[in-house]
């Protein structure tokens, strides 16, 4: 089986990138001591195409940083990330929404921002609108929406415009009880697609165990364990006690 993601010796640190001011340069001769925080240290792994890899670890262990790096939002300080030309997206809802625009216009705006072409969006736009169940509100400005409607629309965009590799930071289910169920099922459907490679960060044991085929346990920016879901989960729970 070919790999969809190959990460080699990835290091990401937050350092020396503090903001400074010109005023400070005048009044302080000595530069402040640099704070170095290494979020990811020498992480290497690969994921086969179509697999679902769960990432677990406690808060601050570098899970979200890793996802953002793979999505291309962060630059690695060293090491490489090879996605073999697959399209990738970090699942996030409501990116770039403009409150004064109508729902329909926001679908276009958000879709373009996610890197889709106008034709691709137009092709799917009816499906998105139908999924969002907004009825006539789709032609009204988003500022008139209730928060439930807002998240329904936002979710539908990400759920219908899909990519080869999906990076998910906690599964989202939004809206009222009925839509929650629908959106959760849709997420499962997306994740389980044979051709889609998924990295899933979650703190919910239930979610991880029911969806992921493999687990990667990050601890302080390093891989502590990788393997079958059951074994890793067991070790992790033992550790967290």
């Amino acid at each position: 089986m070919e790999n969809a993601i190959e990460v080699k010796e990835l290091c990401i640190a937050y350092r020396s990138l503090k903001r400074y001011s010109i005023k400070q340069n005048f009044f302080q001769r000595k530069p402040k001591k640099e704070d170095v925080f290494e979020a990811i240290k020498q992480v290497s792994f690969s994921v086969e195409k179509g697999r679902i890899l769960g990432i677990i670890g406690r808060n601050g262990s570098g899970k979200s940083t890793l996802l953002r790096a793979i999505a291309g939002i962060f630059a690695p300080d060293s090491g490489t990330i090879d996605l073999k030309g697959n399209r990738v997206s970090l699942l996030s809802i409501g990116v770039g929404f403009e409150k004064e625009l109508t729902g329909r216009e926001n679908i276009l705006l958000s879709g373009l921002l996610l890197g889709f072409s106008e034709e691709q969006i137009q092709e799917k736009i009816e499906e998105i609108i139908e999924f969002a169940e907004l009825g006539e509100f789709i032609e009204a400005p988003v500022r008139t929406y209730s928060s439930g409607m807002y998240s329904k629309l936002a979710f539908s965009i990400t759920a219908v415009l899909e990519t080869d590799i999906m990076l998910i930071d906690e599964i989202l289910s939004v809206g009222d009880a009925k839509f929650k169920k629908k959106s959760y099922n849709r997420m499962r459907e997306l994740i389980s697609d044979q051709n889609r490679t998924v990295l899933l960060v979650s703190h919910s044991k239930e979610t991880v165990e029911s969806l992921c085929q493999e687990l990667l346990w990050l601890h302080d920016g390093q891989i502590r364990m990788r393997g079958e879901t059951k074994q890793v989960m067991q070790a992790y729970e033992e550790f967290m006690k």
Partner: protein
């Protein structure tokens, strides 16, 4: 880089236009008369300057109100885009932290927004030219390359400000002083070449790109004088270089911005 730039523009160019439309629409939405301010604002400043410099200081440039209006329209575009680009990444944190987007696309959006307002403003200029009976010659077409140069030069400067604006906290203070100085040096309300003794006046219109652009626009629209092709080429090439270096700078560093903000 060329290939990457081409692909990115193809992929995200449309976003910058849709986003610019959205922002213009948002500005108008709160009150339908808001767009009137896009025109009223320069008109009011034009009236103020015309009064102060035309009446109090007895300026004698022909078609003085239009003379000022041209300067203000171009300057406002330049000034707005530059000032906004300093905080652009921070202001779009929401987007920048969630998806990858070539950061100069954010500048492009601002350029469309401010450019649209500038074109409205120049619409008023043409109307005033009719009203004041300015003799129109074919030379008005020279205005077009100057607009192009203005866009290119502004974009080039903005890429640098966007980059350093992420790292330098008080950049906006420094830039606002610098821009104020440049405003007075550019001759929005006086003719640099005739007011400042030779040869410095001539130099200042050639070596200061903003003065060069605004003078060029006035010469073509108001006085039907030929354009200085050599200098136009010089500044076009100079601005293009600025853009190339700026985009390169952004490409190299943009994925670290989010670690700072």
């Amino acid at each position: 880089m060329k290939e990457r730039l081409r692909q990115d523009l193809k992929k995200y160019g449309k976003y910058s236009i849709v986003s610019a439309k959205a922002q213009l629409k948002a500005e108008v939405a709160s009150s339908y008369l808001n767009w009137l301010w896009w025109i009223l604002d320069p008109i009011c400043f034009m009236l103020i300057y015309t009064f102060i410099f035309g009446t109090v200081f007895q300026a004698s440039e022909p078609y003085f109100p239009i003379f000022i209006f041209i300067g203000l329209s171009a300057w406002d575009f330049f000034h707005r885009t530059l000032t906004q680009s300093i905080k652009l990444v921070k202001k779009n944190k929401e987007i920048v932290s969630k998806v990858y987007l070539p950061k100069y696309i954010l500048i492009l959006t601002r350029i469309w927004v401010n450019g649209f307002k500038m074109f409205l403003s120049f619409g008023v200029v043409f109307f005033m030219m009719l009203f004041f009976g300015v003799p129109v010659t074919w030379r008005v077409l020279d205005w077009i390359p100057f607009v192009f140069l203005l866009f290119l030069f502004t974009f080039g400067c903005a890429t640098f400000l966007l980059h350093y604006g992420v790292f330098v906290e008080d950049l906006s203070n420094v830039i606002s002083i610098g821009l104020r100085l440049l405003f007075y040096l550019t001759g929005i309300f006086y003719q640099v070449s005739s007011r400042i003794p030779a040869p410095y006046g001539e130099w200042m219109t050639k070596y200061n790109p903003m003065a060069f652009i605004i003078t060029g626009m006035r010469r073509s629209l108001l006085y039907g004088e030929t354009l200085e092709g050599g200098w136009l080429m010089f500044w076009l090439i100079g601005s293009l270089l600025l853009v190339v270096v700026g985009i390169r700078l952004i490409y190299k560093n943009e994925n670290s911005y989010i670690k700072v903000i």
